[in-house]
């Protein structure tokens, strides 16, 4: 059941996004912090008793955290060495639905996931199905109200915006806006990440296209029509766009979250392939993900410690290193905790100034339209 009192107000989210952008822009005025381990140390608010209880449990079960998604690989490694807890990361390429399902089917078993990182729709569904237990981290008050469940069942961890990635040696002129994608030079090149009524990534692409082509958060049809136009022009590539297909040149233009595209950019650079990532001029759509602790967690204290770590300054800065906008971004910017070198690697703040977030109700409505029309128009 949807709790209408908790509807994320568009105004609040716009303000958050705008303020976030201003905060990032304002960083240039402050002297950069050295990137020493001390600079990335946590805020020291994690209680010793929690650490002891977690270490007694000895391990934590995580699920569906790809190592190159928002720098999770490094986050897991640092958590493991810092608190000496064994981590098992099941099904790294799993989806949010699979995470909720794992909580349900593995109830009472040792393998059940302790904590999940899911999309908004799955977080809502999970709370409704009684899959989560409430927990408010010590830094709870610095998480924007629009990004958390007031009762503490789920809380936003980071958000990203839709971006264009292009492989430089295949695409001579990187697309900067949606109209650029229709160019005849890009035949068979433009791909998204799965079906839009299934993958959060794919959904974001169609919603962003809608915002740029006369639609709105309440009306996703112009987005669908844009992709039909793209397909008719022969530019749409229906294969799933991920690191392997991008670097191999099979899907040289990918419309995905900025943090995913920026991570691919780094991987490409390591292989000697130059990649350009642009936030489109029009239609900037932002999407948050949410953390939650499983109601039947076999290691509840370890899960709470994990949350405390993620929402500490250190955890949030590691997410920022993974190119996302962490939930406590404004707080970190206010307290001048963001290293300038890190800030420079992200796209300029001005690109995000018009970012729009959809409420869960808007997402559900758009999803129903997508389920009806996407396959019929694109199939």
């Amino acid at each position: 059941m949807r709790d209408r009192n908790r509807q994320i107000s568009r105004r609040q989210l716009l303000q958050m996004g705008a303020a976030g952008g201003l905060g990032l822009a304002g960083l240039g005025a402050f002297p950069g912090l050295l990137e020493t381990p001390e600079a990335l140390a946590d805020s020291g608010r994690i209680s010793k008793s929690l650490i002891d209880a977690a270490q007694k449990e000895g391990a934590i079960n995580l699920i569906a955290l790809p190592p190159d998604w928002a720098d999770y690989g490094e986050i897991i490694r640092i958590f493991q060495t810092k608190y000496r807890l064994g981590i098992s990361n099941a099904n790294p390429d799993g989806t949010s639905a699979e995470e909720n399902q794992a909580i349900q089917t593995l109830k009472g078993q040792d393998r059940e996931p302790d904590a999940v990182d899911v999309s908004g729709s799955a977080a809502q569904a999970g709370k409704a199905a009684g899959l989560y237990q409430p927990y408010k981290v010590s830094t709870w008050n610095t998480i924007p109200a629009a990004l958390k469940d007031s009762q503490g069942y789920y809380y936003g961890d980071y958000w990203g915006a839709m971006s264009f990635l292009s492989l430089n040696h295949v695409v001579k002129q990187a697309p900067k806006d949606w109209s650029d994608l229709l160019s005849p030079k890009l035949r068979g090149m433009v791909a998204i990440d799965g079906k839009p009524y299934s993958a959060g990534d794919g959904f974001g692409a169609v919603m962003a296209a809608s915002l740029a082509n006369g639609g709105s958060l309440d009306n996703i049809e112009p987005g669908i029509n844009f992709f039909v136009k793209l397909k008719k022009a022969g530019n749409f590539n229906p294969a799933d766009a991920y690191t392997a297909t991008i670097l191999k040149g099979a899907t040289p233009i990918a419309i995905k979250w900025d943090y995913l595209n920026l991570a691919v950019r780094d991987q490409g650079a390591a292989q000697g392939q130059k990649i350009t990532v642009n936030i489109p001029k029009h239609g900037v759509y932002g999407g948050p993900y949410y953390q939650a602790i499983s109601a039947y967690a076999p290691h509840p204290n370890a899960a709470k410690l994990w949350m405390e770590f993620l929402y500490s300054d250190q955890g949030q800065l590691l997410w920022l290193k993974g190119y996302t906008h962490p939930a406590r971004y404004l707080d970190l910017a206010k307290r001048k905790k963001i290293p300038a070198k890190l800030a420079k690697k992200l796209p300029p703040a001005s690109a995000y100034k018009n970012v729009k977030f959809a409420t869960l109700a808007q997402i559900a409505k758009a999803n129903a339209i997508l389920q009806e029309q996407w396959d019929a128009k694109m199939g």
């Binding site: 569904a125 299934s198 229906p238 019929a376």
Partner: protein, 312 residues
């Protein structure tokens, strides 16, 4: 005069002219169960746990309400919405197309390699290769084709260096045609594997007898060869249909985001996704697939019984 127990085979070792031999009655346990069922029990256990129970849970899920308890026909009703009708129809069309292409060409290749006059080594090489290729379906196959005839594939680039741009002439790997070509890669070898024993069963004496009676090649095939092969040919193609109908990973890697509307992709999308969380719809779609495949397998079983009569 006859003293034959109903479930036993006649014992030919004691043939007495004029009288049918006496046969021992089968050993019975508890007066009801025959011991002959015991060795097969593990198989039935396996079938029950891994096939019947999951199918039953799909059926239950298809008729259950999404929230709360109770049953509903809503999910099955949505199966008749245009986008799902279209998906089922496209899946069936694709499966029939690849069953026919793989079936007919597979038959030709198998016959050429397996018939009596063919060199020995061709047969074993072909069967070995077919064994591998028939199981190569999935993401690696899709990638292999993307690397070969995708937009930046090896063959595509080779052809465009000679001025032939297949993509600007309307061909694309990511379409119904492209999928048919990719599926044929594993359908054709599967056909070869299935039909080779049946071709072996075409005894050369029949050919010689027909030629003796004045039949030419066409008449031999029309009146002797094809009628004998026909049931196994048809049931092999029915099996190919089932194999293509349920293929998921290959199709997902090629057209996962759109462009060809297939049922297994939709099931994957609604059952494990981030936006739509509707496993009951997935169950309903799976039920639809079970019904269609059930038809297919029923036809296959019928034809299989008919085919084996010829080979005894």
């Amino acid at each position: 005069m006859a003293n034959v127990a109903p479930t036993a085979r006649p014992d030919r070792s004691a043939i007495v002219p004029g009288r049918l031999p006496a046969v021992p009655a089968p050993r019975r346990l508890l007066g009801k169960l025959s011991l002959t069922w015991l060795p097969v029990a593990p198989f039935f256990l396996y079938v029950t746990i891994f096939m019947l129970l999951p199918s039953l849970s799909i059926v239950q899920g298809a008729f259950s309400k999404s929230t709360g308890s109770g049953y509903t026909l809503d999910h099955v009703r949505t199966l008749f919405d245009p986008q799902y009708r279209d998906a089922f129809w496209t899946s069936i069309k694709l499966s029939v197309a690849t069953a026919l292409t793989g079936g007919i060409f597979g038959l030709f290749v198998a016959y050429a390699a397996v018939k009596e006059g063919a060199p020995r080594w061709i047969r074993s090489a072909l069967i070995t290769f077919s064994g591998v290729a028939a199981n190569f379906a999935g993401v690696p196959l899709a990638f292999a084709f993307i690397a070969t005839i995708g937009t930046t594939g090896v063959i595509t680039s080779f052809l465009s260096s000679y001025g032939i741009d297949i993509y600007s002439n309307g061909f694309t790997l990511y379409s119904f045609t492209g999928l048919t070509i990719v599926y044929t890669y594993f359908q054709l070898p599967l056909m070869i594997l299935i039909i080779s024993p049946s071709i072996d069963g075409l005894r050369s004496q029949w050919r010689e007898a027909a030629e003796n009676l004045g039949a030419n090649t066409f008449q031999y095939w029309r009146m002797v060869g094809l009628p004998i092969l026909w049931p196994s040919l048809l049931s092999a193609m029915v099996l190919l249909f089932g194999s293509a109908f349920s293929a998921y990973a290959t199709a997902y890697a090629l057209i996962g985001s759109g462009s060809v509307n297939l049922v297994p992709i939709i099931i994957g999308a609604v059952m494990s996704g981030n936006i739509t969380i509707d496993p009951n719809l997935g169950d309903a779609l799976a039920l639809g697939m079970i019904v269609i495949i059930g038809f297919t397998v029923a036809i296959y079983a019928l034809l299989q019984r008919r085919a084996s009569r010829w080979l005894r």
